[in-house]
């Protein structure tokens, strides 16, 4: 499986990562090498095998679905840009800027 420059762009888009300043051919080469190595799993017969998606050995009872107290202003203080105690994002409507 070869990871091409186009596929790097597609994955970077999905991952919201700007890779324009990166050495894209090196990145594609490294990812190809790793993904090629992973093809070793093709040899394994997994028919009738259940996937293991978590590490829990036991099941746990659920706790009550109650809102825990939190300090709103403290949480907002971690954001670089806020307005009136709201998170601020660039305008998503044409003609306005942050």
């Amino acid at each position: 499986m070869k990871i091409t420059g186009d596929l790097v762009d597609k994955i970077a888009g999905l991952a919201h990562l700007d890779v324009t300043k990166k050495n894209k051919s090196l990145l594609a080469e490294q990812l190809t090498q790793i993904v090629e190595h992973m093809r070793v799993l093709d040899q394994v017969d997994v028919s009738n095998v259940e996937p293991m998606f978590h590490g829990c050995i036991e099941t746990k009872p659920l706790r009550k679905d109650e809102v825990a107290p939190f300090e709103h202003e403290l949480i907002m203080s971690s954001a670089t840009v806020t307005q009136d105690n709201y998170f601020t994002v660039p305008s998503i409507i044409d003609g306005e800027n942050e």
Partner: protein
């Protein structure tokens, strides 16, 4: 007075007898941190820890106080401590201050232990050499040209170089055991769910587990005891009641010896074949020899699917990481790019400018293995092979109680040796990752030194939730081989 030679129980006794104060201990370690800055073990040193020590001294350490009261420790900088900068060794969290406590930090705080600072790591715990930190690499104190192992390199160095009494790292694929091994100290990666992950910055949630590090087994047991146990804030944390490992190790010798008599240890010879250095093989034989003399029997066990573990791990871990790290969006907290012409640009530039190369590589890989068209062939397939690896261990444990094997095929490698080839770097974890995939506990212990004076380490892998067998065997090893423990790293002239 040589504080570095003392165990936690000894120091606790001295504090109660007023033969030493928490301030003396804290300033002793703060001075050592200052004098060993070139090791780059700490990202943040908390000078005000002395004030905390002072208030502990003023209140006095009483007989009934928790054993850790007044004793200094360090925490990997991916664990939240309220009001303290927590960077994860990343530019993206360079100026982030935690606004709540992780359960681990809360329990240590409640115990009265004194936090000296936050230790260096590979960015977002992604790495095996601690060369991926935004704050620069950590240096191996036994030989400054070598890596300390990763990703909890700073925590391991803080213990091995005598810059804290004990420490905590996180182990997703070996990140506690590998640096502990490269530093000649003891460590444990508990069964998945033994220690709460609440407030631990997530890398791969189905694999991440906090693990303590110490210079001897008693200290390790105490460090383990204080943080483990149920936590309603983490749905993946086990509800099993906590059993004190230190109390267990302190129980009378006869019942203690009875607890491990006739126990069998498995050796997975088929895993320990290629690429294992002569020194490591020799050390394995020596450990087998020590354990044989203690009455353990040995059997060969097979973990046939472990040969796929590396690939399974790098699919699952990167897949989970790509999802976990999507929270760093430049908006809610952390680095925010000035390039913000629209929302997509703000996301992409914030992440592209502030994540390091290895983190970006893993996000890319993880996004790929989860993406439409590739999910079945990669992520889903890996999750199924993971089941086979777990089954292999369960089968092996039909024939033995514990498994013994090296932590790493080689001792600490040179700085820069593997940085240009990610795949070769990933192979450093080949002996540790199966344990995380199978959610098993594994205790790493130092087992002497190689020809050049670098530490060698072994691991004892146990059944789910059977940490007590691991602690008891390790304690017996320490009694037979005291020279393997309580070592403080000093660079030897001969290896400079």
């Amino acid at each position: 007075m040589d504080i570095l030679k003392y165990s936690i129980p000894k120091i606790a006794k001295m504090l109660r007898e007023k033969k030493i104060s928490s301030q003396e201990l804290t300033s002793f370690y703060l001075n050592r941190i200052k004098n060993n800055k070139k090791l780059n073990a700490y990202i943040t040193v908390l000078e005000d820890s002395l004030d905390i020590a002072k208030s502990i001294d003023n209140a006095g350490v009483k007989e009934k106080d928790p054993v850790l009261k007044g004793i200094p420790y360090s925490l990997k900088d991916n664990m939240l401590v309220k009001g303290i900068r927590t960077t994860c060794a990343s530019k993206i969290l360079e100026n982030y201050t935690a606004n709540y406590n992780s359960t681990v930090a809360q329990r240590l705080n409640d115990s009265g232990a004194v936090l000296l600072g936050k230790t260096n790591l590979d960015e977002f715990a992604m790495g095996s050499s601690n060369e991926n930190s935004f704050f620069g690499p950590v240096i191996n104190p036994w030989n400054h040209k070598h890596v300390p192992g990763g990703s909890s390199g700073g925590s391991a160095v803080s213990v091995s170089a005598g810059l804290s009494q004990f420490s905590y790292g996180t182990d997703t694929g070996g990140s506690v055991r590998l640096p502990a091994c490269f530093n000649g100290i003891a460590s444990i990666k508990p069964t998945y769910g033994r220690i709460s992950r609440y407030g631990i910055i997530a890398f791969a949630s189905s694999l991440d587990q906090v693990g303590p590090m110490a210079r001897n087994i008693e200290d390790l047991a105490i460090a383990y005891d204080v943080v483990c146990g149920p936590d309603s804030k983490d749905q993946t944390c086990s509800i099993k009641a906590k059993e004190s490992m230190y109390d267990f190790l302190s129980s009378d010798k006869a019942s203690f010896e009875k607890s491990f008599s006739k126990k069998k240890i498995g050796i997975p010879r088929d895993m320990i074949k290629e690429g294992v250095s002569e020194d490591v093989l020799k050390s394995l034989d020596e450990s087998i020899n020590v354990l044989s003399k203690m009455g353990f029997d040995f059997v060969d066990v097979k973990i046939p699917n472990s040969k796929y573990a590396l690939d399974v791990y790098y699919i699952i871990a990167t897949g989970e990481a790509s999802s976990n790290l999507s929270r760093y969006d430049g908006i809610h907290y952390g680095y925010r790019s000035k390039n913000n012409k629209d929302l997509d640009a703000l996301y992409s530039y914030s992440r592209g400018e502030a994540f390091g190369d290895e983190v970006q590589r893993r996000i890319m890989l993880g996004t790929f293995v989860l993406s439409a068209g590739y999910y079945d062939a990669y992520f889903s397939k890996a999750a199924k092979v993971r089941t086979l690896i777990k089954n292999d261990f369960n089968n092996a444990f039909n024939d033995c109680d514990m498994i013994l094997m090296p932590v790493s095929p080689v001792t600490a490698f040179k700085l820069g040796e593997k940085t240009s080839d990610p795949l070769t770097m990933y192979l450093s974890d080949v002996f540790t990752i199966s344990v995380n995939l199978a959610a098993l506990p594994s205790l790493g212990f130092p087992s002497g030194f190689d020809k050049t004076g670098l530490p060698v380490g072994m691991q004892l892998i146990g059944k789910h939730f059977d940490e007590s067998s691991l602690f008891s065997a390790a304690k017996m090893i320490q009694e037979k081989k005291p020279e393997w423990f309580n070592n403080v790293a000093q660079e030897k002239d001969s290896v400079k």
